[in-house]
């Protein structure tokens, strides 16, 4: 079985990775929304904010970079006169990815109760002096 030569690159890693990231970003946002549906408070808000930032970063900004539509800041020459647009896109990418992971991590930590002190699993009881528990004479 032979493939036409213009179809084969579509199955390469370089072509699959943006699609993978778009699907993963959207699914992350959808799962976080389903998880926090019907709850209120600051934890779902932080979790959803993080998931939204990550979805923007993974589903919009990173595929644009991989498709070559946006040029990375490190490849823009210093003599370029239009420096504002690459810098702003770089800022959007860095803030959405790093800030997204931080917000999502904090949200999940709050959800898991990471910042709460764990109660002692052993019940603490005062020594009882009732005859039912006392030593049998």
């Amino acid at each position: 079985m032979t493939f036409p030569p213009d179809v084969l690159p579509l199955a390469s890693i370089g072509a699959m990775r943006p699609v993978f990231m778009i699907v993963m970003g959207a699914f992350l946002l959808l799962t976080a929304w389903r998880m926090t549906r019907g709850t209120s408070g600051w934890t779902p808000r932080i979790l959803l904010t993080g998931a939204f930032l990550l979805a923007v970063g993974y589903a919009v900004v990173m595929p644009l970079y991989q498709a070559g539509i946006l040029v990375p800041l490190s490849q823009v020459g210093p003599a370029t006169d239009d420096l504002a647009s690459p810098v702003l896109w770089h800022l959007v990418k860095v803030v959405s990815m790093n800030g997204g992971w931080l917000t999502f991590g904090v949200g999940l930590a709050l959800h898991a109760g990471l910042f709460e002190t764990e109660k002692s699993p052993a019940p603490v009881e005062a020594p009882s002096s009732s005859p039912a528990h006392g030593p049998v004479i």
């Binding site: 992350l28 790093n98 991590g105 930590a109």
Partner: protein, 112 residues
């Protein structure tokens, strides 16, 4: 202004640190979920967060470590593999995090 620009944007140290800290928090929270609440999604989430953390650290470190002399010592193929390995880690980690979050959501639904 130029110093601030370099510190925040060109080098990006602060924001990279923020991202790594967030990934660490995510891993800790996933460990807590899988240990205390016995959520099977938490285990996957832990694996995904660890892979992402490893990949992210490798992405940050490799440009400083892989000097041309080291590349020549490794040979072309090995150096290429080492340079591309973080992206495989990042891809697998993202998949693990998303799958784990989905599993945790299913677990929450079954539990309540």
């Amino acid at each position: 202004m130029d110093l601030l620009f370099k510190f925040f944007i060109t080098n990006g140290f602060l924001l990279d640190a923020v991202g790594v800290i967030g990934l660490g928090l995510l891993g800790l929270a996933a460990v807590r979920l899988s240990q205390r609440y016995r959520s099977w999604g938490g285990s996957l989430l832990t694996i995904g967060a660890m892979l992402l953390l490893l990949g992210r650290l490798a992405v940050l470190v490799i440009p400083h470590v892989m000097t041309p002399g080291l590349v020549a010592a490794f040979g072309h193929t090995a150096a290429e593999i080492i340079t591309l390995a973080p992206f495989a880690l990042l891809t697998a980690g993202l998949a693990g995090v998303v799958w784990g979050l989905w599993g945790h959501e299913q677990w929450l639904r079954a539990e309540h």
